[in-house]
């Protein structure tokens, strides 16, 4: 048994780019048998291992394939090549409002989301107060989530995901929306989380946050792995690249 929580082995993911994406029968017939599509490789031949108990950062420019790779880790997308091994139960929190139903109340959404993440009703009920307490949405818990602010949305989603106590937590840029207090709170939670041998993989554009939180970092550039390793080293290289690109 290796000590890796996640093994990403030569993963590639392609999307089909349609010249005109028209999902109607007429368009399909007009195009004929061959549809006008080009393959676009959003992630190409990426390999790395995430040790158990680590906080692993994923950085890179806009459109470099971070979210795509994270979605592969979360099993929402399936890699066209390569394989991903997850040793343990995984939960993911991708962008704002992961799988909340806007018409349902916060309370109902907590239960629905909990069961999507694999908890039984009883388990959610026993953690419910903690979840609400951590999210800080307070009396709004019985309001439909469509009336939440985007910060509240994220806080509740994050709170559910972290209280599911997965072995591996996959997070995409969600902390960016929370206020300073919530960021502090969730960073502490992450520390507590990884201390108990659990693993966090997160995408963020804040290099300060990466340096502060992550042990290891992978830098994606146009779908390819540009560098992977110690957080300080990789962020330095990345910073240099950003400075060069920005000037």
């Amino acid at each position: 048994m290796s000590d890796s929580a996640v093994i990403v082995d030569r993963v590639s993911k392609k999307f089909r780019m349609y010249k005109e994406r028209n999902q109607s029968l007429k368009a399909a017939i007009m195009r004929g048998k061959k549809s006008i599509a080009e393959d676009f490789w959003a992630v190409q031949d990426v390999s790395f291992e995430v040790p158990r108990g680590a906080t692993f950062g994923l950085i890179g420019r806009n459109g470099s394939g971070k979210s795509t790779l994270l979605k592969c880790l979360a099993r929402i997308l399936h890699p066209d090549r390569g394989s991903i091994t997850m040793n343990g139960k995984a939960a993911s929190l991708l962008e704002v409002g992961s799988g909340f139903h806007p018409e349902l109340s916060g309370r109902e959404n907590v239960f629905l989301n909990g069961s999507i993440l694999g908890l039984s009703k009883k388990e959610v009920a026993s953690r419910f107060d903690e979840i609400v307490e951590f999210s800080g949405v307070g009396k709004f818990i019985d309001q439909p989530v469509k009336n939440y602010s985007s910060g509240m949305y994220v806080r509740l989603g994050f709170s559910v995901a972290i209280h599911v106590q997965p072995d591996i937590l996959v997070v995409d840029e969600v902390l960016a929306v929370g206020d300073g207090a919530f960021k502090k709170k969730s960073q502490n939670k992450f520390v507590e989380f990884t201390k108990s041998g659990r693993t966090v993989i997160l995408v963020t554009h804040s290099l300060a946050q990466v340096r502060e939180m992550c042990n290891q970092v992978a830098w994606l550039d146009q779908g390819r792995l540009a560098a992977v390793g110690d957080a300080d080293e990789v962020t330095q290289k990345y910073q240099a690249h950003l400075d060069a690109a920005g000037s």
Binding site: F15, Q23, S24, L25, K26, A28, K71, A74, R75, I76, L77, H78, S92, L94, E95, G97, S98, G99, H101, E103, L104, E108, F111, L112, N113, S115, I116, L117, G118, S120, K121
Partner: protein, 272 residues
């Protein structure tokens, strides 16, 4: 096999999604769940006026129940049909309308069409309950047939959800599917002996050629409607061939739907 295991392991999610459908449907309506009874009752009144009084459709007397009431006879066939169309229409759009969920979290996607079949089943069971009460009041004896009724509800649910799963995948590729299917279902209803008795078709076939009735009976819903009427209206066991056809259709269509859905579900998130 692995997929089946995963489905079973997450059955609590299925229950939750079903509850969401049941309680979410009539949220913020004054009449709430009553709406699900109003719709069939209005249809019953309309069809009774048009087809019993104006066109004088005369179904045979229930044998051995002795019932002879067009509205009750109609409902014994109409309720299964309504269930079928609701599951096909709802299940087929379930993937597209839950796009935000599918793109954000992983769970076995089959729970979406299945939860439509289950939540619609809850409504259907209530409707059948009211119908069974009415049948009993007018002299029928549907109660001893309850186990058989439940078995046939399950068979129809399998048949409908199998079809819904295939069409749900097609609908992700071509959004025309949902409009096309709505149209087909309307025609399909008139090709099934729901508002008129099959004896009318037999008379026609005797005149123009017996092949008509053979082709007509290839329609799976014809067999299902026949069996539901046998159970509820006539209060007798269904004929062997009808029963076997229903089991066969349910098994084949659900099996196909399951396979097609499972093969395609991995790519749903990127296609939406």
């Amino acid at each position: 096999m692995a997929y089946l295991k995963e489905l079973l392991a997450s059955r609590e999610l299925l229950a939750n999604l079903t509850m969401r459908e049941v309680s979410g449907k009539y949220r913020r309506t004054v009449l709430g769940q009553l709406w699900s009874l109003i719709n069939p009752i209005v249809l019953m009144l309309v069809y009774t006026v048009v087809f019993s009084f104006i066109f004088r459709a005369r179904p045979a007397e229930g044998d051995p129940s002795g019932l002879n009431l067009y509205p009750l006879w109609l409902m014994c066939g109409l309720l299964p049909w309504l269930y079928f169309t609701r599951v096909v229409n709802g299940g087929l759009t379930s993937i597209v309308s839950n796009a935000n969920l599918i793109k954000k979290v992983y769970f076995p996607r089959m729970h979406l069409p299945l939860s439509v079949a289950l939540s619609t089943g809850v409504t259907w069971a209530m409707e059948l309950g009211v119908l069974a009460l009415a049948l009993t009041i007018f002299g029928g004896m549907p109660l001893p047939f309850l186990p058989l009724l439940i078995l046939w509800m399950v068979l129809l649910a399998l048949f409908a959800s199998g079809l819904a799963m295939m069409l749900a995948i097609l609908n992700v590729h071509f959004r025309d599917t949902q409009h096309f299917v709505a149209l087909i279902l309307q025609m399909w209803m008139y090709l099934t002996p729901i508002i008129y008795p099959i004896s009318l078709v037999r008379e026609g076939a005797e005149q123009y050629g017996m092949w008509i009735i053979d082709v007509y009976r290839l329609n799976p819903m014809e067999r299902f409607v026949e069996v539901f009427r046998n159970i509820l209206y006539d209060n007798r066991l269904p004929a062997w061939d009808d029963a076997l056809w229903c089991v066969g259709w349910a098994g084949v269509i659900f099996g196909l739907g399951y396979m097609i859905f499972q093969r395609n579900e991995k790519r749903l998130a990127e296609l939406l």
